[in-house]
């Protein structure tokens, strides 16, 4: 456990030293604050616009951080040949993967929290109260980012950063459209097509499950969408991704 913690903290320190992180974070906060301008021309929909766009930006920029730091996470160690020093030490390879993953999740947690507080501050300035419901939405965004990071780390373990970025972004897009894909299949595909789509529907990450922004913005009770089952689904998917990454990484020959 200490070994995993050491790698986690090291990965976190490495990530917070990365200038790209600050660039993305600064841009995200600037975009969140700019929603205030759009809200002023929203004709009565200002509070909704600030929340919608703010949560949307947290999700988009969070995904960018997850992808662009996640894709280099393992590959960078191989490229710099620092992996040889690590694998020669008494450490299991899955511990290395887990530590790297948790380090990035810690980075994302800090960033999502900063962005959420920035949005809440903006709302407080405009409306005079702290809208703590936003934490429910950003919590689910973090869960979504955990899955996205898992995908990025998986590709990072056997592919180049450029290809990993393309694959991860593709999975992100497909994952967000999975419910629509299933609906489309049920309406238009034949029996074989429907069976195929259903298979993909259950195998691919359904990121739409973690999107509760509309419910939070409209004040709809979250009980039906945010359940223990959603959290269990996300957690199990992450475990599956990390297990697959460990399997691939275990069989890589570093000589």
């Amino acid at each position: 456990m200490n070994r995993v913690r050491a790698i986690t903290l090291n990965t976190f320190k490495e990530a917070v030293r990365d200038r790209i992180l600050y660039a993305i974070l600064a841009f995200a906060i600037a975009m969140i604050c700019s929603t205030f301008i759009l809200a002023t021309i929203g004709v009565g929909s200002g509070p909704k616009i600030i929340r919608d766009l703010g949560l949307g930006f947290i999700s988009i920029f969070g995904a960018l951080i997850a992808v662009f730091i996640g894709i280099g996470l393992v590959h960078k160690e191989i490229d710099r040949r620092t992996i040889y020093t690590i694998v020669s030490k008494p450490i299991h390879r899955f511990e290395f993967i887990l530590g790297k993953y948790l380090g990035l999740i810690l980075t994302l947690l800090v960033n999502v929290t900063i962005m959420t507080w920035a949005l809440m501050g903006l709302i407080f300035l405009g409306e005079g109260f702290w809208d703590f419901r936003l934490f429910a939405a950003s919590g689910m965004i973090l869960l979504e980012l955990m899955v996205v990071t898992g995908i990025a780390v998986l590709f990072s373990s056997f592919s180049t950063p450029a290809l990993s970025a393309i694959f991860t972004l593709s999975f992100f897009a497909i994952g967000r459209l999975l419910d629509d894909l299933r609906l489309f299949g049920e309406q238009y595909a034949g029996p074989v097509g429907r069976a195929m789509i259903r298979t993909f529907y259950y195998l691919l990450p359904n990121l739409g499950r973690f999107n509760v922004n509309a419910e939070v913005v409209h004040g709809i009770p979250l009980g039906e969408v945010v359940s223990g089952m959603t959290i269990l689904y996300g957690s199990l998917y992450v475990v599956a991704l990390l297990a697959l990454t460990s399997l691939i990484f275990q069989n890589r020959d570093f000589r």
Binding site: G42, V43, I49, D52, L53, D180, A214
Partner: protein
């Protein structure tokens, strides 16, 4: 020293190019030509396409469509000549906003009002009815439909139908129950109107409201119990 000179040179070139581009942009302002499309609303995508293209960020896109609709409404106010073309993209833009976010109450309510102002009643009705279908437990859309039928189309039967629905929904304004008996009276259903007023009279302790009801009942020659 040489490095400093080169830096000054680059900074000067940057400043000159920037000022030049701003001047050129100002020169381009207002220049159209046949190839330029006057109204980019001609290229409105379908709601189905936007649902996919939004990658799940539907409410964000709905907000942008809403802002675009209000700006389009504003831009059309500058067009003095009333033609059938005027405001023709208002409904498609509003429809896009509510298709992407079916719970966007302000887009139904204020959008319907904008359509009413420009006398596009059929489209306002379509928007409100879509809002009621998507939010059957909200009183706002039936209320606005009732108002549109009552004030603009003078169709009291339909106004009664929609206000009757609004009256049964939680959170509806206090004045709706007072309007409903009046509408029954106006549509020739005197007995129901009297029954509703009597029921309201018995149910309330509010002296002002009791006075209003007494006034209505006395006009109809009905004694207050």
């Amino acid at each position: 020293m040489k490095v400093k000179k080169i830096s000054v040179l680059w900074a000067s070139l940057f400043s000159l190019a920037l000022v030049g581009s701003v001047l050129a942009a100002r020169g381009l302002e207002g220049r159209g030509g046949a190839s330029r499309i006057a109204d980019d609303s001609l290229y409105l995508p379908s709601a189905t396409f936007l649902r996919y293209a939004s990658l799940g960020y539907r409410t964000m896109l709905a907000d942008l469509m809403w802002i675009r609709a209000t700006q389009y409404f504003g831009s059309q106010l500058e067009v003095r000549k009333a033609t059938p073309e005027k405001h023709r993209f208002l409904y498609p833009l509003l429809d896009l906003a509510v298709s992407l976010d079916p719970h966007f109450m302000n887009a139904y309510r204020f959008g319907g009002l904008l359509l009413t102002v420009v006398k596009r009643y059929e489209q306002a009705i379509a928007l409100y009815e879509k809002g009621y279908a998507a939010n059957p437990d909200r009183w706002e859309n039936p209320h606005d439909l009732g108002r549109l039928y009552y004030l603009e189309l003078k169709d009291h039967e339909k106004a009664l139908h929609w206000w009757g629905i609004a009256n049964r929904l939680p959170g509806r304004p206090d004045y709706i129950p007072r309007f409903v008996p009046l509408l029954y009276l106006e549509t020739g259903q005197r007995e129901i109107a009297v029954e509703l007023w009597l029921e309201m009279y018995r149910a309330t302790d509010n002296e002002w409201l009791r006075g209003v009801i007494e006034g209505h009942l006395q006009k109809l020659g009905v004694q207050v119990p």
